[in-house]
């Protein structure tokens, strides 16, 4: 089973975030000049941060995370697919750090971030899905925005209680934010950030929030993900990082297993295509637990 426009690469959970309050482990990075964003795969990007800076001692705060999956097809046009998704996530992160967002409006984060990409002198090109989650501690609500086929799961008591819906135009063509070269305007798929699905719901202590690109969900069905999450003993940073890593690793292995009936293969079969095997793809996993706020 092959998927022509993605190259298989794995992302590891990795680098410690600046504010290690609780919960976040995220896909890797070499942090760039002072910025946090994780971006490692050929086409994925992610970020997570606590709104505010070190001087913020307020009890109220928001925690924001996001993943973006670059569309690999741009490679054929000499464009590095990770540039767009990585820059998108880094820009979201900057926005959040500077407080230029409304917690209950995660689509706003996407919209503003996308507009900022257009303000760059560098002529950025490419496209990407995006999934943003905002945890508002005061109201104990999670606000989400999802454009495309990345997504999130909320797991409570070993069961999935919330999940995002995939947005596809047609098979393997997710909704995507894009900046096209002028000669290709109108030909390249370009969805508005407003087209993102947005949901808001209450969360409880102990809820696990998993945000990931389609590389995970296409290769690992829910029960396997839940199995891994059960192994999460406590909410300290190392455990979460370890779990995120093992999920990503497992998905990566399954992706290259030609005999395995992956969710992606199952879906294809349901639609009349007789295939088996995993789907090699970039995998970005972001894992959080809703825990007590500690200083």
């Amino acid at each position: 089973m092959t998927c022509t426009d993605h190259q298989g690469e794995m992302l590891n959970a990795g680098v410690a975030p600046w504010w290690s309050v609780d919960s976040h482990s995220r896909s890797t990075a070499q942090p760039e000049a002072g910025l946090m964003a994780g971006e490692r795969s050929d086409s994925g990007g992610s970020f997570s941060c606590l709104r505010g800076s070190a001087e913020w001692r307020a009890k109220r705060s928001e925690q924001v995370g996001g993943v973006a999956d670059g569309v690999g097809g741009w490679r054929d046009y000499g464009v590095d697919p990770s540039q767009f998704s990585g820059t998108l996530m880094r820009t979201c992160e900057r926005l959040v750090k500077e407080g230029r967002f409304v917690p209950s409006n995660p689509i706003g984060i996407l919209t503003t971030s996308y507009c900022e990409l257009l303000q760059n002198k560098v002529p950025l090109l490419g496209s990407s899905t995006a999934c943003i989650v905002v945890l508002d501690r005061t109201s104990h609500r999670l606000h989400t925005a999802n454009l495309g086929d990345s997504g999130f799961l909320v797991v409570r008591g070993g069961e999935v209680v919330h999940r995002s819906d995939e947005q596809q135009h047609y098979f393997n063509t997710p909704f995507q934010l894009s900046i096209a070269p002028p000669e290709a305007e109108g030909v390249v798929l370009s969805d508005s950030p407003d087209a993102a699905d947005s949901t808001s719901f209450d969360v409880q202590l102990g809820d696990i929030i998993l945000t990931a690109t389609d590389g995970l969900f296409d290769n690992m069905p829910d029960y396997m993900i839940l199995q891994e999450l059960k192994k999460l003993k406590n909410s300290n940073y190392e455990s979460i990082q370890q779990t995120a890593r093992s999920i990503a690793e497992q998905a990566h292995e399954l992706a290259y297993d030609p005999n395995y009936m992956s969710p992606f293969a199952q879906f294809a079969c349901d639609n009349g295509l007789n295939v088996r095997g995993g789907k090699p793809d970039d995998i970005t996993v972001l894992l959080s637990i809703v825990a007590e706020y500690t200083d």
Binding site: A33, G34, L35, S53, T91, R94, L95, E98, R100, C115, E116, L118, Q119, N120, K121, V122, P123, P181, P182, E183, E185
Partner: protein, 567 residues
Amino acid sequence: MMNSHRAIESNIRTSPLNAEVVQYAKEVVDFSSHYGSENSMSYTMWNLAGVPNVFPSSGDFTQTAVFRTYGTWWDQCPSASLPFKRTPPNFQSQDYVELTFEQQVYPTAVHVLETYHPGAVIRILACSANPYSPSPPAEVRWEILWSERPTKVNASQARQFKPCIKQINFPTNLIRLEVNSSLLDYYTELDAVVLHGMKDKPVLSLKTSLIDMNDLEDDDYEENDDCGMDNLNKKLSSTALREGPNNGYFDKLPYELIQLILNHLTLPDLCRLAQTCKLLNQHCYDPLQYIHLNLQPYWAKLNDTSLEFLQARCTLVQWLNLSWTGNRGFISVAGFSRFLKVCGSELVRLELSCSHFLNETCLEIISEMCPHLQELNLSSCDKLPPQAFNHIAKLCGLKRLVLYRTKVEIEDYDVIASMIGAKCKKLRTLDLWRCKNITENGIAELASGCPLLEELDLGWCPTLQSSTGCFAKLARHLPNLQKLFLTANRSVCDTDIEELACNCTRLRQLDILGTRMVSPMSLRKLLESCKDLSLLDVSFCSQIDNRAVLEFNGSFPNVFIKKSFTQ
């Protein structure tokens, strides 16, 4: 002697009671210009607050604070304004930014982290007012911490600028940087400002010889016309001036000659001279000395009282520069209105950039009192409400109008362009930088309606598409074009460059930053055809690599070819 000095010095540093506080800026509260779009995080002044994002990297990054202009390119444009007479030579500031810090301290150092083309900062000032105190301050004082003439810095690399600042006797959390970018090869970019200071007043103030020199300059600055005028009023009322006709050789000189000599004095000197004797008082008060009145250099002191003192002499004023003045309560609407009622009748040019005291009433007064006004600059007057601009319609003689960073309401730039094309047939310069919705229709109207256009800035106008032929149309209709900015218009292509080469041979400045569609070949044609070209910005043009730029530099040594970079 030296030993005891050193001992005292070290006491201050190690004293636990008076610890040094180091802070990054909390907020940017005012500035004169920036490169980026108003609410954006890219290349805007807001980036100067907080911790650095880029430093110590060098390069052209979005996360830095960038002013709108650099070099002398804008002074060489058709739209360049003539300088005011009587500008003191030590006032060279072109732009400013004001930053607040959390805590008030007695400053010991101000560091500026510059990440691209450093060297623009020429003056640092501290304010005694605390912008976060709930009650308005009794007195607002600005003191120069450091000042120097613009000097060329040869590297474009990042640096931490650490000028030696003067000690002041009040705590501050409001710092102002003034910059002059005229010697820079490209836009300067600033990442952060660090304020070092003591919470409590240092017991001893140590002065080195270096600081003494700054003191001298500061005296120059402090004793401006204001002091002169206060004293003068007192002098006049007490008949301290010597009566009598004996003025020595001055009695022999023709009136006009003395006037001519006085023309060379700066305003403060003019006021001081007025106090010497009755004859010179008469000369110095002659309204002919106040035809050009540049009060911008004295923004830190100029207030309602100053305007009152000047009023009587300013009945013939034609050029008035009040840019940067009057903020933080220094000038009131009433004070400005009084002044303008006396002095507005002959006014031809009025500069009011960053004059935040202006409100709608002020614009109404201007439109009523200045019937001959030809030039009005309201740049960065962002507190003016949209309806205030309606009054400008009454100024029928306007030839130059600057509305940069104002809240004037414009829904549809195509409509504006259409009106301009219909009514302003003799228009020579037009700045539509960042006009979000102008399309090829507007451009067509401009092209056909304003054939005399020499300067057109269409930078960062994303809705213009080369495929509509709009740029080609511009080129064909505007043979007098000297400056054309198509910055960050990603659709500019070889055809457009070739049309410019064919039709706009007088072109001097061209900016095509960020397009992937222009090749070295078409640029070569342009360079060969436009012999007067002196500025060509091909930053982030993917087909134009450094090798191509080097080749062009070799073949066309008179052209400054700019190629900015991020890493």
